[in-house]
């Protein structure tokens, strides 16, 4: 009996750690992405950028494994039956943000878009904003598991930063299409900017759902 209790507590602790680790991965991937784009703008497809892309891929891979383990454990041990579906959806949503970081970083690697110097500052600003958005999303999600009353505070940050990122990406696109560069380049840069800005949009969608989950989590 005593052993059974210990085993239950250790399994619980292990799952808590996995969920925490999963959130760490989002923060890691967001920071690495920000650094990678900064390197790309400075050095294009350099060895350092390639390494950072590989790092993002590894984080994405680890996050996938953690997601599977969390999902398996939740189902096989029949945990949190009333909130399980919400938690699974939340984990899937967070994973989709990590995947998107990986896809965008890889797109930069494949397409090698050439941003003129005058757009670098705004591009870095946009990357900063989407990273902040994802980080705050991760913090809000972590709060959902431990301190549900603070979810709303972080959600407001995500909403604010997302609208800022929309403004930044819009201004960038306007400036690009007003410039003299060839249309093909304009379309390529516009597409890339949209992809980057989409990360913040996904985070915002996740937050919308998270707020509903938080209401359901209240006893």
């Amino acid at each position: 009996m005593f052993q059974l209790k210990l085993s239950l507590f250790s399994q619980t602790k292990s799952l808590e750690n996995k969920i925490d680790l999963f959130h760490d991965k989002i923060i890691n991937v967001a920071m690495t992405f920000k650094k990678a784009i900064s390197v790309f703008l400075r050095e294009q497809r350099s060895e350092e950028y390639r390494k950072l892309c590989k790092q993002i891929k590894n984080i994405e891979h680890d996050a996938d494994n953690l997601r599977r383990e969390i999902e398996n454990q939740l189902y096989s041990q029949n945990l949190i039956p009333d909130l399980r579906a919400d938690v699974l959806e939340l984990v899937e949503n967070l994973d989709s943000i990590i995947n998107r970081f990986d896809e965008v970083a890889y797109k930069f690697y494949i397409e090698r878009p050439e941003f003129p110097q005058e757009y670098h500052r705004r591009m870095k600003e946009l990357c900063e904003q989407v990273s902040d958005c994802a980080e705050n999303m991760a913090i809000a999600s972590r709060a959902f598991f431990r301190d549900v009353s603070t979810v709303r505070d972080y959600s407001q940050k995500v909403y604010f930063i997302e609208s800022e990122s929309d403004l930044t990406s819009g201004k960038m696109k306007e400036a690009i299409f007003d410039s003299d560069m060839p249309l093909a380049n304009k379309l390529q840069l516009s597409g890339i900017i949209s992809e980057v800005a989409d990360i913040a949009d996904i985070a915002e969608d996740c937050i919308d759902e998270l707020l509903i989950f938080a209401i359901k989590r209240d006893i």
């Binding site: 239950l8 507590f9 619980t12 799952l15 808590e16 969920i19 029949n78 945990l79 949190i80 039956p81 009333d82 909130l83 938690v87 959902f144 598991f145 431990r146 301190d147 009353s149 989590r217 006893i219």
Partner: protein, 349 residues
């Protein structure tokens, strides 16, 4: 032992089965309904708890029922228990959560009316007053526990997974305590009318002495267990989530409040302790676990601002509470007439 006693006892066992099917679902129905406990696990824990409660804590509340109507013929006791059981069975087959206590009280009054014995109105009023006090008290206790738990959860910042583990452990513990309280409080409904004519003698098992009444209550406990295993899963569908959707923590609060109330109305030790300190004590009366559950659910619903309570279903439940004693008394009266005039059995003297 007289074999006819066991034939007459069968109606009490049937009532025990009905109680197991109906009232035990109140104990663990919410835990099973919210998928926090498996039905089998909950049923085993509840059965053990009910039997222990019946054998070791059941004598207090049974005296009140005996005082209400001292049924002095075995055939009469048979019909009182059978009428209550039929009333309960009829109500639960209609999907209405019903009170076994009200059914047996109705039957006893039916017997009193038939046999022209006066009904002690003081005791009757004492019992009927608990039909109001019990849900109100349960509701108040539930509100207090709800506020405490909410405060603790807000400030402790327990991880959702750990909270799930604690809730499960809490549900198992409360399922055992609730079943004990149910056995202690409600065994009087099942076996109370047979105590006078009990043929069982004292038995010594090692250091343990069991009186004849305790053995009778043990048999009643077994009947309740059979009701738990065979039919309670059908009642679980009605109680709990139908009145108000519940989280596992709310389920725990509901069962805890209900168990406390049942225990308060059954424990001789608690009564003696309160009296010894000059505090007001509650009468030892069999109360309805259904009423306690509904009281707790409404209490929490009100603490949440009154939203989410399905008042229409509650009115159906409340109408069941009014109808049960009336139907039970009516069935008892009619059947006593048949038993006496068709089968030529003495139902009172």
């Amino acid at each position: 032992m007289d074999i006819s006693y066991f034939i007459f006892l069968s109606s009490g066992l049937f009532l025990g089965w009905s109680l197991g099917a109906n009232d035990a679902a109140n104990i663990f129905g919410t835990a099973v309904g919210t998928k926090m406990l498996k039905f089998r696990t909950a049923a085993i824990i509840a059965s053990i708890g009910v039997i222990l409660g019946a054998v070791f804590g059941g004598t207090g509340a049974s005296k009140t029922l005996t005082d209400l109507g001292e049924i002095n013929e075995l055939a009469g006791a048979f019909m009182v228990a059978l009428s209550a059981a039929l009333a309960v069975y009829w109500m639960i087959s209609n999907g209405t959560p019903v009170s076994t206590t009200q059914a047996i009280v109705g039957s006893i009054v039916g017997w009193n009316l038939y046999s022209n014995y006066p009904t002690d109105t003081t005791i009757l009023l004492k019992i009927v007053s608990t039909w109001i006090i019990c849900p109100v008290l349960s509701g108040i206790i539930a509100i207090c526990i709800y506020i405490c738990i909410k405060y603790i959860l807000k400030n402790s910042k327990i991880h959702i997974i750990r909270q799930d583990l604690y809730t499960r452990i809490g549900l198992v513990a409360i399922c055992a305590f609730g079943a004990y309280a149910l056995g202690a409080n409600n065994i009087a409904n099942v076996m109370g009318v047979f105590v006078e004519a009990s043929p069982f003698h004292e038995v010594k098992i090692g250091q343990l002495n069991l009186s004849g009444t305790q053995i009778l209550f043990f048999v009643g406990g077994l009947a309740i267990s059979s009701g738990i295993f065979t039919y309670s899963h059908k009642i679980i569908k009605t109680i709990g989530n139908d009145v108000m959707s519940m989280s596992p923590i709310i389920a725990w609060i509901v069962v805890f409040s209900q168990s406390i109330v049942l225990f308060m109305f059954a424990s001789q030790g608690l009564q003696a302790l309160l009296q010894a300190h000059g505090l007001p004590s509650l009468p030892l009366v069999p109360v309805s676990s259904s009423q306690a559950v509904i009281g707790a659910v409404i209490g929490i619903g009100l603490a949440k601002g009154g939203r989410g309570i399905r008042w229409s279903l509650l009115s159906k439940v409340a109408s069941g509470w009014v109808l049960t004693p009336i139907i039970s008394a009516f069935i008892c009266f009619i059947f006593l007439f048949f038993l006496e005039n068709v089968f030529n059995l003495r139902v009172y003297h």
